[in-house]
């Protein structure tokens, strides 16, 4: 553990989400699409939340979306977030439709965060084994 900073627990990929986490290492944000009814979903799961079909494909999401909801934590909840606060945790409504939960907003002051704010994915290469999808305010073209 770095001095004064708590180690956040990293993902332990399982049989349902390992494809997602592997793709993160390639900087690809995957969502799932039902090949029967077309419903797009997040987070990774074996079957469609609309029709329960297991006929699934992965789609590369654009990485664009907007903030659906968020919270900025100032409390460290015991030792767990020491060195990480303030931290903004949020749900992103992806341009493709599904809600992505949860992720972090970076490069934005807590007082500037708003629901509806356009955001884009940015990759946090934590280690050779782990890359986390985070988001920042979308750059204007």
């Amino acid at each position: 553990m770095a001095e004064g900073k708590a180690q956040l627990r990293m993902p332990m990929p399982n049989l349902d989400d390992k494809v997602f986490w592997e793709a993160c290492k390639r900087h690809e944000l995957l969502i799932q699409k039902c090949k029967d009814c077309g419903e797009k979903r997040f987070f990774p799961a074996p079957t469609c939340t609309k029709c329960a079909s297991g006929n699934t494909e992965y789609l590369k999401a654009s990485g664009k979306g907007e903030i659906f909801s968020f919270t900025t934590s100032y409390n460290t909840f015991g030792p767990q977030l020491v060195g990480h606060v303030p931290i903004t945790i949020m749900v992103v409504k992806l341009a493709e439709g599904p809600l992505l939960r949860w992720t972090n907003l970076i490069d934005c002051k807590p007082e500037d965060v708003r629901i509806g704010m356009p955001v884009e994915v940015v990759w946090d290469d934590v280690s050779p084994e782990v890359t986390l999808p985070k988001f920042r305010p979308a750059k204007k073209k």
Binding site: L8, R9, M10, P11, M12, P13, N14, D17, W21, R41, F42, F43, T49, K50, F68, S69, F70, T71, T72, S73, Y74, N75, F77, G78, Q80, L81, H84, I87, I89, M90, V91, P98, L99, R101, W102, T103, N104, P110, I115, G116, V130, L132, K134
Partner: protein, 377 residues
Amino acid sequence: MPSIKDKCAIVGVGNTKYVRGSGVSTLSLSIECSKKALADSGLQPKDIDGLLTFNLGESLSMSDLARSLAIPQVNYQFDITGGGNNGSGVVITAAAAIEMGLATNVLCVHAINRFSGVRYGAAGYDNFAAPFGRVAAAQMSAMYAQRHMHDYGTTVEQFGAIATTFRKHAMPNEDALMRTPLTMEEYLKSRMVTTPYRLYDCCLETDGGVAIIVSSAERARSMKKKPVYIMAGAANTQGPGLDLGGDTPELYTTYAAKYVAPRLFATAGLTPKDIDFAQIYDAFVIYVICQLEGYGFCRQGEGGPFVEGGKRITYGGELPLNTSGGHLSEGYVRGFNLIAEAVRQLRGECGVRQLKDVEIGLTTSAPNPGGALILRR
């Protein structure tokens, strides 16, 4: 269609004091509140043949409890996985077991050392939570609150009305953890935990236990205390595709209440207008607002104005809520203390905080999946 309506009754309730630092095990807390519930009901340990509890990472062995209470034979026992959304469901599950002849008198217990034992955020694992610092339920709930404020203009003063009103309710309650007054000014000055939640928007990390004994309505009529009948109940209902994390926008504004309410009121043959008081699951303030909407006490988005100023939700108001202080000020025993308070209100045992002429009360468990009970005297 078969119905649970009025088939069973709550015949005994007991609780420990709600404290920070019980100094004893959850088994000891369970024994203490169970003995009090037994005394309250007039039943002996040998009369209990069903045991139920629920847990999130702090499992209690039903066998240990049965042994510690010297219960000679148990015919029905489960330790159900789940948190605050389970409380009402556990009681209705006991009633269902009794109605089907699986057990006669079921002791439902919940005890936690939430302050001195496993604290918030320390249980469970989710690959999409901890790596992003989403470690506590408060953060998840805060995102619901943020969205409600955005969609409906709900305000921090409305949150504060809940926190300060429930504190007022806890003050005369000798078992409550927080008994000092809380003003709106103090509320607004309290530290930010996770936006938009201030300290007093969050329930209390509590050590304590509550036991509830359920029996058949017929047997209840010859027991020591006036029966409190279970008119209707739901045991962990949810809608399509919903999970606690909020993968569908709906969760942010209605929770399970939307799905529980129609079945609940239909079973009881009642409407929200018939409810004299409610003990609403209040782990966080937004849960109160969303459930007032979801159970039909006001329209969607009007939960904030409903609680504003606190007058409608206190003694003498249109719908008194959480009359013992609730999870925000009495203590947090995952909804079980709310049920105990409803029983005591219906029996008329609440002393200075007793509501006048109450016949029917609602208790809820939330957010999702969720359950509820309608109780009557």
